[in-house]
């Protein structure tokens, strides 16, 4: 074993150990706890104790802070290396992965804060919950760093398995367990498809390492088995990013899962899936761009159209956001299709701004969450401008950002993606994207209309400190990067530099 390899892996090691310790949290505490703590998915009888334990949250946040510090330290130490791969080229610590890992850590921290109330009110254990979030984070970090299809796949599975359980965390709610079940089964199917694609690619290229695949593809003329593999790989990834027509699970799971988990699924999980999507297609498969770009263009167009049109008729805000997230997946795919420096920058920028705006919206929704399912209909937003003027305003900013209206950050993201598509010769896709953005404004403004123009019911809100923190951070990011995008753009240019050079490699095999 090489100690350098271990050092590169340090943040992941910390997360793994930390998440395991969190699982042991209740037992490591001095105070004796009553029984009924175990996960026991099918246990049936509710645990009698309120395990919404304050200290769990703080341990979780401490773990995230330590992880972030170790990541920054490790990346600082590894600076200068364009790509420092460890473990026999299985794992890379490059600028691209560091960008995404930091994003994941921040997002998981915000999801942890969003979960605070939910855990305090519910009777389910906070320790196990945070532990699962930690394992999901670990999986996501491996996804970001994986340069071998096996690493990527294992990371993806770790994240997915944790998400399945989290989606069913309301284990006594029929909706929640049903969502988890559906998510699990369909996830298993998509994993199988993905794995089949990977095996076909292995069969053609003789390697699972992305760089080796790139090398062998550069001398390869078109090949049916390979195309088959790429199609299956793309289909599997499209399932993970919830792109049409592989999106069907999204609305049901988003609505059924506990709201903080929906927030997690719609932000972190998607961002991680896009990280591997971009990594594989930019660095390994770019020689076959002509072959896969049309497929993905179709997927992108379908996602934008289906997601945004279906969102119009929704009255449940979780379902609405589920469909809207399908549309957003379509926009981000533009960045992959265009295969250019602008495209990859657009992916990074858009993922970042989308994640923050979405988290802000979830924070606002959770503020209105009374009992377990209120605050989910658009009607519940009526009169919010009177009840909580600041958060109503924040909500408008988040929605504008999702709609891509300046001066919010969403505009910058869409600007990069759309112009990348136009430059790559996908003008028709850009037109669909713009038209569908306009459509999205329509249903986003249904919420604004409800907040500002309708008289509200006398519903009280619980605006707790953690939710305020999440909302404020999201608002700050959305506004600051909207007005002053330069720091983000500079960062993204650095983080995507290597990937952008891959996109520029002449396609010798074609």
């Amino acid at each position: 074993m090489n100690w350098n390899d271990v050092a590169v892996l340090l943040p992941e090691i910390i997360v793994t150990i930390g998440a395991s310790l969190l699982l042991l949290g209740p037992f490591l505490r001095r105070k004796p706890r009553p029984a009924g703590m175990s996960l026991g998915l099918g246990a049936g009888q509710p645990a009698e104790v309120s395990t919404g334990d304050e200290s769990a949250k703080w341990w979780m946040l401490a773990l995230l802070v330590i992880t972030a510090i170790s990541l920054i330290g490790v990346s600082w130490a590894a600076e200068g290396l364009a790509l420092s791969a460890g473990f026999s080229q299985m794992f890379a610590l490059d600028a691209f992965s560091i960008f995404f890992k930091l994003l994941f850590i921040v997002v998981i921290a915000m999801v942890a804060l969003l979960s605070d109330d939910f855990l305090r009110e519910s009777r389910y254990s906070a320790w196990e919950y945070y532990s699962l979030l930690g394992f999901a984070l670990c999986g996501m970090m491996f996804m970001a760093s994986g340069v071998n299809l096996i690493t990527i796949w294992v990371g993806l599975e770790l994240m997915s398995l944790s998400s399945y359980i989290l989606a069913g965390y309301y284990k006594n709610e029929e909706k929640s367990t049903e969502a988890a079940m559906k998510y699990f089964i369909l996830g298993a199917v998509s994993s199988a498809i993905l794995l089949y694609g990977i095996s076909l690619i292995y069969g053609v290229c003789g390697s699972l390492n992305l760089m080796d695949i790139e090398k062998s593809l550069s001398t390869l003329i078109s090949n049916d088995a390979l195309m088959f593999g790429i199609m299956l790989l793309a289909a599997g990834l499209c399932f993970k990013v919830a792109a049409a027509p592989f999106h069907v699970w999204t609305p049901d799971v988003y609505v059924g899962a506990p709201t903080p988990i929906t927030a997690f699924l719609s932000t972190a999980s998607k961002a991680a899936a896009f990280a591997i999507f971009a990594r594989i297609f930019y660095s390994a498969l770019h020689d076959f761009h002509l072959d896969w770009s049309n497929v993905l263009a179709t997927v992108s167009a379908l996602s934008m159209i289906v997601g945004n049109l279906a969102a119009i008729t929704q009255t449940n805000i979780k379902r609405l956001l589920a469909y809207s997230s399908i549309g957003h997946a379509g926009y981000v795919l533009l960045g992959i299709i265009s295969l250019s420096d602008w495209g990859i920058r657009g992916i990074l920028i858009y993922t970042t701004v989308y994640v923050f705006a979405t988290l802000g919206i979830w924070a606002t929704i959770l503020m209105m969450r009374r009992h377990e399912y209120a605050g989910e209909e658009i009607d519940d937003f009526e009169g919010l401008s009177k009840r909580a003027p600041f958060w109503a305003f924040a909500m408008v900013i988040f929605l504008l950002s999702l709609g891509g209206i300046p001066p919010t950050a969403g505009f910058i993201g869409k600007y990069y993606l759309f112009s990348a598509a136009i430059e790559a010769g996908y003008g028709w896709l850009a037109i669909i994207a713009v038209v569908m953005s306009a459509v999205s404004i329509f249903y986003y403004f249904k919420i604004v209309v409800a907040m500002y123009l309708r008289e509200g019911k006398e519903a009280d809100m619980v605006i707790t400190r953690p939710l305020q923190v999440v909302g404020a951070v999201a608002l700050a990011v959305t506004l600051i990067f909207g007005v002053l995008p330069a720091p983000l753009i500079t960062q993204v240019e650095q983080s995507s530099h290597w990937m952008a050079t891959r996109a520029a490699v002449p396609h010798v095999g074609r």
């Binding site: 089964i185 369909l186 199917v189 289909a235 279906a310």
Partner: protein, 640 residues
């Protein structure tokens, strides 16, 4: 200071934030301290920056302080950056110091107003936006300030929002300014499209580099000037300025006389390279300026509201400035901008002092004989009137004379230049006449108001009188900044501003005025101004209102036409506003119905699609899995 130019607009902005957030609860002394500190800091920062700049760049090179890169994409981009060059230095000093004086004055004037904190918050915000406008290094940053001052102007015109007329006047100002902004925006789009930049120096450089289509430059210049006619109240968009007098009087002095309304003049002077390459556009500027100068001056001849006279006078004087920049005498136009800021601010503040003394009365028919009651106000007002009338050796004399002489001698369009000169000279006669009419009707004769008003008459507090005297002194001696060449004295402002007017191939540089025509024009202007004063004196000093009554009997139609401002508002109402209303009703009733129908139809279609999608969204996991497989199969089938 030079590497932190942003601090200059930031200081009053901080004042706006503090007063906006805490002003309502804090006391009046706190509010005024914060507001005055904000404006004073801006003035001090600005002055320090000017000294440092002058030490480093004695020849007036352009200094740019980049704050950050706003956005850049491909070859199009814009920075948020501030710049100092001779032109912005002049504007910076005028805006900050006059702004500071008016802040001080406002403490006394607004003392009993319930919206005290709101007023000062807006005033600070205005100052901040105006400084962004003046210091911005590109059209885009300038536009940010341009819109910002427009917003503040709207807010402050409608300050007395409980009245009927003030909000309407604010809306009118805003709408007319939007028409101008449309031109400004299109001009910027053209620059982005053809030059790839909106940076002042870059645009000038590309335009002067040759190879640019003449129509493009003319179009950009005319569109920019459309923006200027809105902001600076020129024909045809001037009608908002008289109504803007609905705002508090110090606002009229600061925004609607000294600073904001001169932004258009500043913008044209700033774009002098573009204009000099497009003489046709310059001619339009000069002719519109001359026409506005005369037209507004005639309306001012027969107004009763003391502020309305000054408002039309401002429009007319802005016309003079546009004559200056239009005929190519950019430094003369800016010089008049400076002296006008002094004497017009003094006049407005003086009128505020009169209104203050008269317990809110603005009609001159109720005034008269105030000379002895409010002596400081009277003296400063008389000094400023002397200056604006263009009587010898005061500031207005030199600046107006330079403009008229330049119009006479302009090399761009000699014949039209003479016509513009004639328009300006007649306007100058009117100026002297209506200003002295105002002075005599207000301060001479007998008091015509009620006993109660007479009882309340009092001189204003020193926070108001001191700014008046400072401005009056500047109004007298401000002319020393720009003595004409024939006096064989240094023309400070002219040689200073020469740095902002670079020599470019294919265009005239500075205007050379032959000594002979300079003398001729100066003597003619002096005689004209004296004639205006003498006529006003003989008509109004003793006879007061009798004269106006006599005029009304002699030529009733003309008198009424002038009094009703040549019915321009009515004309616009009949030709533009009315049809527009009809059109909007048409759109509302008919077109809206059609569009609504289409929208509803689209809605049904979309809802249908939604239902169709819902059909697939069965909630049945087996169906979903089937769809997944179907998707994969279809893809493989189609694409491999």
């Amino acid at each position: 200071m030079l590497n932190a130019l942003w601090l200059i607009p930031a200081a009053p902005f901080a004042g706006f934030v503090v007063n906006g957030l805490f002003g309502k609860r804090a006391g009046k002394s706190f509010v005024s301290a914060v507001a005055i500190l904000g404006s004073l800091l801006a003035a001090i920062f600005g002055t320090v920056a000017v000294f440092q700049y002058h030490a480093l760049y004695p020849h007036g090179e352009r200094y740019v302080d980049l704050v950050y890169n706003w956005f850049s994409s491909g070859n199009v981009g814009a920075d948020v950056a501030f710049q100092l060059d001779p032109l912005s230095v002049v504007m910076l000093l005028v805006v900050t110091w006059v702004g500071f004086l008016i802040h001080v004055y406002s403490v006394g004037y607004m003392h009993d107003d319930t919206g005290y904190f709101r007023y000062f918050a807006y005033l600070n915000l205005f100052l901040s936006e105006m400084l962004i406008l003046v210091l911005g290094s590109s059209y885009l940053v300038m536009f940010v300030g341009w819109e910002g001052v427009g917003l503040c102007s709207y807010l402050l015109i409608g300050f007395y929002y409980k009245t009927d007329y003030a909000p309407a006047a604010g809306t009118k100002a805003f709408v007319l300014n939007r028409i101008g902004d449309f031109g400004f925006l299109i001009a910027m789009f053209l620059m982005f499209a053809y030059f790839g930049s909106v940076d002042f120096a870059r645009v000038s450089q590309l335009a002067a580099g040759g190879g640019v289509e003449p129509w493009l430059l003319t179009a950009i210049c005319l569109l920019l000037f459309l923006g200027a006619t809105g902001k600076s109240a020129q024909i045809p968009l001037y009608v908002w300025l008289p109504d803007a007098m609905a705002g508090p009087t110090p606002v009229s002095a600061l925004i609607h006389a000294a600073t904001m309304v001169t932004a258009g003049v500043y913008m044209v002077a700033r774009s002098n390279v573009l204009y000099r390459l497009a003489p046709d556009a310059m001619m339009v500027v000069a002719v519109i300026g001359g026409a506005t100068a005369l037209f507004a001056a005639t309306i001012a001849l027969r107004q009763w509201d003391i502020k309305k006279v000054l408002a039309y006078s401002t429009i007319s004087q802005l016309g003079f400035m546009f004559i200056g920049v239009g005929v190519g005498a950019f430094s003369a136009g800016v010089f008049h901008l400076v002296t006008h800021a002094f004497f017009k601010a003094c006049l407005f503040l003086g009128s505020g002092s009169v209104i203050h003394a008269m317990s809110g009365e603005q009609d001159m028919r109720s005034m008269g004989g105030l000379k002895t009651k409010i002596p400081h106000t009277y003296r400063t007002f008389a000094i400023a009137t002397y200056a604006i009338a263009g009587l010898p050796l005061a500031s207005g004399f030199f600046s107006k004379d330079e403009i008229l002489a330049s119009a006479w001698a302009t090399p761009y369009f000699p014949t039209v230049g003479k016509i513009v000169w004639a328009l300006g000279t007649i306007a100058a006669f009117c100026t002297a006449f209506y200003m002295y009419r105002l002075l005599y009707l207000t301060f001479d004769g007998k008091f015509r108001g009620t006993h109660e008003q007479e009882h309340h008459l009092h001189e204003s507090p020193s926070s108001m009188v001191v700014p008046l005297w400072i401005l009056a002194i500047l109004a007298i001696f401000g002319g020393l900044l720009g003595l004409p060449e024939i006096f064989h004295a240094p023309n400070f402002i002219g040689s200073w501003l020469a740095g902002a007017v670079p020599e470019i191939p294919g265009a005239h540089h500075l205007i050379e005025i032959p000594a002979g025509s300079e003398w001729t024009v100066m003597i003619v202007s002096t005689l004209i101004a004296l004639a205006g004063w003498w006529v006003a004196r003989s008509m109004y000093k003793d006879k007061q209102l009798d004269t106006d009554r006599a005029i009304e009997q002699r030529v009733p139609g003309l008198a009424r036409a002038v009094e009703n401002k040549w019915y321009v508002d009515e004309f616009y109402g009949a030709t533009v506003v009315g049809p527009l209303k009809q059109l909007s009703i048409f759109f509302w009733r008919i077109v809206d119905g059609i569009i609504d129908g289409i929208a509803a139809m689209l809605g049904y279609i979309v809802a249908g699609i939604g239902d169709l999608l819902r059909f697939f969204q069965t909630g049945n996991v087996r169906n979903y899995a089937l769809m997944l497989f179907a998707g994969v199969v279809v893809f493989i089938w189609i694409f491999t």
